[in-house]
Amino acid sequence: MGLRTYIIRRLILLVPTLIGATLLIFAVTQLFDPVARATLYITNVQQFTPENVASIIEKYGLNDPAYLQFGRWFSQVLQGNLGFSRTARQPVFQALIDRFPATAEIVIITAPIIILLGIWLGVKSAVHHDKLVDHVTRTLSIVGWSLPSFWLSIILISIFYVGLGLFPTGRLSQVAQTFVLTDPSFIRYTKLNIVDGILNGQLWISVDALRHLVLPVTVLTTIQIALIVRIMRSSMLEALNKGYIVAARAKGLTSKEVVNKHARKNALIPTITLSGLMVAGMLNGVVITETVYGINGIGLFAANSALSLDIAAVLGFTLFAGIIFVVSNLIVDIMYAYLDPRIRLG
């Protein structure tokens, strides 16, 4: 089976999963009364009035049997209408789009750090199997994995912000925030403050944004890195015991050459499959870190709406996170199949 056939087959398999996922979200909406569910069909702030709710219940038949409602709701979702958020007072889809750059900024910086540092530590651990480096790395990664993210966040705020005044919370300082939002010469190309600062030649904006990212990125890295270290270590250990490694050593290559040229490349493949799990971990993680650090991304939005029973927002976010997760898993699988042809044959 060629790579293209494999991709097509995976895409077809995605359809039932996505339909199932929306069905699950729909099932959850059925726990609510029709008045609460009416927000799922509102598209703009003008419609959001008490009188209107009755007409929406009427129009979409929210007292009808569930299977009749599903079709109407599903066609709304397909058109990109995830309902209206009471807390944000704007359509859920728009609210997610507006807040996405803040989250993306955290993830774009954290992911490469976790992957590169994780691979490096995993290789070090395996090459020095059962030596001090190995024990220290393993212990530290278990410690990181066991830390409650919200607690680590609070401890870091207490030390590095309250105590030392080094790394502030939030997304930007007041001055920078005002400048970014109101200065006519500042164009928000990407809405990612670090990138926009560089593009506008206002490096202080980028530096300010980076300073605010230090703590949340540290928290996410500390907690998620164990996943990569563990799998990289064990696949590296396995690779180092393979016949071709023995052959390479017998050929007279130095152990550095053996590790870099032969073992690491093959050991990387299983690690790639874990990147999908890492995406899930980071989506889970931003809900907590954004809440503690007061970063107005999609995670904080979801946590706030969950508390104030803003169901359209919570479920819209859940669906959004699910789609990101499913798509990143698809990409991971395709990469895996590309790198390891045995997968395609299965």
Partner: protein
């Protein structure tokens, strides 16, 4: 008669007991697993002794609505008090006694972890065994259903479910079970598929054993161990998720003895006072240390088990 059946049973268990002995000896040799085991035993003792270590006020216990998991307080003053003779861990926002909350919180942590893991495991095992053994349409349907749950990041789906069901500790546990069982279903299904092809299962079927007998006598005993171990060691992760949801305000109520809730309560006091930035350190440091070490204990043990069970790494 009885003794010969016992002999037969013992002979049948031979390889299995040997396997367990081997595992235990490996565990005893690993310092990390000993550390993990000691931590969990320490917490278990705390949980068992909580009513003695932090006895509820006897006069309150007379009220019919009395529940020891509600943390007592002496006043409603907002500002936390530092540790003192009366309050060894100090009080948190609203004068709730931290020592009492943390001690009884140990019971909450075990209860949440063991209930969620137990319930997920039972559901996961039942569905996974049926799906793996019978295959066909049931298997296909069940696996597509687990796909749907797996399509969401776990904590986020759990958060949405709790938001829909209503914020409470019971609903947090329910949501974590709903999100957690598919993992065990997949695991046991894989094991069942492997065991199903073994000769002894074929032989048993050929001898005319019923499906139920094959499942109970041959499939379950040979497929269950990795799943049970994986599940029991998930307790730490479950407690972390539950504490996270409590922290977000979706779990235990404001006076409930729950570590996550206690940390949520400390959020307003991270900034200390004007003169002392760490004036209220105890409100967030202490409950957090208890969660962290608890989870660390389970994870240390889990890591040791994983190494021992991994056939590519063991016996080296």
């Amino acid at each position: 008669m009885k003794s010969s059946r016992w002999q037969e049973f013992k002979a049948g268990m031979g390889p299995r007991t040997k396997e367990w002995k081997f595992m235990l000896s490996r565990l005893r040799k690993s310092p990390l697993s000993i550390a993990g085991m000691s931590i969990i035993i320490f917490y278990a003792v705390l949980a068992l002794l909580a009513p003695l270590l932090a006895p509820p006020n006897p006069s309150w216990a007379l009220y019919p609505s009395f529940d020891p998991f509600h943390i007592p307080r002496e006043s409603m003053a907002p500002v936390p008090a530092s540790p003192s003779a009366n309050h060894p861990f100090g009080t948190t926002e609203g004068q709730y006694d931290l020592y009492y909350g943390i001690m009884w919180g140990t019971i909450t942590a075990f209860r949440v972890g063991l209930w969620v893991v137990g319930a997920s495991l039972i559901i996961g095992l039942a569905i996974g065994i049926v799906a793996g053994y019978y295959g066909g349409v049931i298997d296909e349907l069940m696996m597509r259903f687990t796909d749907v749950i797996f399509a969401f990041p776990g904590l986020i789906l759990a958060m949405a479910l709790v938001a829909a069901l209503g914020a409470s500790l019971d609903n947090v546990m329910l949501a974590l079970v709903l999100v957690g069982w598919p993992g065990y279903t997949r695991l046991i299904r894989g094991e069942v598929l492997r065991v199903k092809q073994e000769d002894y299962v074929e032989a048993s079927k050929a001898a005319g054993a019923s499906d139920l007998r094959v499942i109970l006598r041959h499939i379950i005993p040979n497929a269950i161990y990795p799943v049970v171990i994986a599940a029991s060691l998930d307790t730490g992760a479950i407690v972390l998720s539950a504490a996270g949801l409590s922290f977000l305000g979706l779990g235990a109520g404001p006076d409930y003895a729950d570590w996550g809730q206690l940390i949520a309560r400390s959020q307003n006091w991270i900034f200390g006072t004007r003169t002392d930035p760490f004036a209220h350190w105890h409100t967030f440091v202490l409950p957090g240390v208890f969660i962290f070490i608890f989870v660390l204990g389970w994870n240390l043990l889990g890591d040791a088990f994983r190494d021992i069970l991994d056939p590519t790494l063991r016996r080296r």
